[in-house]
Symmetry: C2
């Protein structure tokens, strides 16, 4: 099965067990001739893909009544693959969704690493630091780099653990966030697992 | 006593009991002829004020050994005025400082309302919403406006309350944040209180 999850920055492919990425600005989807199942949150690319017969939009086979209208299809796929967890999808945005006993309780959106770094620099040039993912979250910071790292990471951490559920990490920055969410399960294929589940349930493959 | 707290966006004056603000880009400090005590985190304005004899820099009278080198002088003043609290100073940045039994434990920096709104819009134009400060923080969001509002506000809230200390709100957006931190004490003159305390201790007035 050939799958693709398209975000704001990249095409993320899964072909059998091989996963790879292509830049949204340079990759040409019509170059793919095989049948491929996709989800896409990028409006411009969605319009392009609708015209390509071999690109099959998995979102059409989802019971969307459980979700809200503007919820990203990538988040819905991750939730579909989950029974009991807080899903932290760390990409250009960090989406956090809560699933309890198979029920989607809701979720929130937090800025991703790159855009949040820019945010601090926009406040003041003296806050132009990279985030320290090796920060000890139990100690209040006493230097500027840790003060912004804690502001970005510990606030997110405190909210996520408050749900008292297992944590699943996915998305492009999942490895970095594993340093913060030490007990989390890393599952870089969570969205693909959800797509496979939806495709199987809809019996379209 | 005539006091002024200068941030990245405004001069904040206190003359006796009257408080008012002036824009950093248009206000000319040499127009003030009276003796005035100030703190300033704005590097350009600091250079200007050093040349004016009637502007007295309060930061020179602080025992800075308790703090870290790059910590903003406004934060130090707020801490000096506090014995036991989490101080949330909501301005262009939101600084959060923890003081326990008179000891400064450390603090962190979180983006302010205006810059964080821009952050979400930079992620995607579909996230171009104002924050909903009337959000129920006990309910996971199921729409985009609440999803970003919760991402911005509940994460901060969860971290701040985890310290289990009284909360003091100050800064330009303190009124808005009172809707989130319902039990917090609103003290718009906290930095001025700290300045007065430092001036009194140094016996310079």
């Amino acid at each position: 099965m050939f799958l693709c999850d398209i975000g704001n920055t990249s095409y993320h492919f899964l072909k059998d067990i091989n996963s790879y990425k292509k830049d949204v600005n340079s990759f040409e989807p019509s170059n793919i001739k095989d049948k491929i199942y996709y989800v896409c949150v990028n409006e411009n690319i969605s319009q392009k893909l609708e015209k390509l017969d071999n690109w099959i939009d998995v979102s059409e086979f989802i019971d969307k009544s459980k979700y809200y209208k503007t919820m990203g299809i990538d988040r819905i796929c991750a939730v579909e693959a989950t029974k009991n967890a807080v899903i932290v999808d760390a990409g250009s945005a960090i989406t956090v969704d809560v699933v309890k006993n198979g029920e989607f309780l809701g979720g929130f959106i937090y800025p991703g690493v790159r855009v949040m770094k820019k945010t601090y620099t926009n406040i003041s040039s003296v806050l132009d630091y990279s985030f320290n993912f090796d920060l000890d979250l139990d100690i209040m910071p006493k230097n500027s780099q840790d003060a912004i790292s804690y502001g970005f990471l510990k606030t997110l951490y405190s909210e996520v653990i408050s749900h008292d559920l297992p944590i699943i990490l996915t998305g492009g920055d999942a490895q970095e966030f594993k340093k913060i969410f030490k007990d989390a399960k890393l599952d870089e294929n969570l969205i693909f697992d959800g797509m496979k589940y939806i495709i199987k349930k809809a019996d379209i493959c």
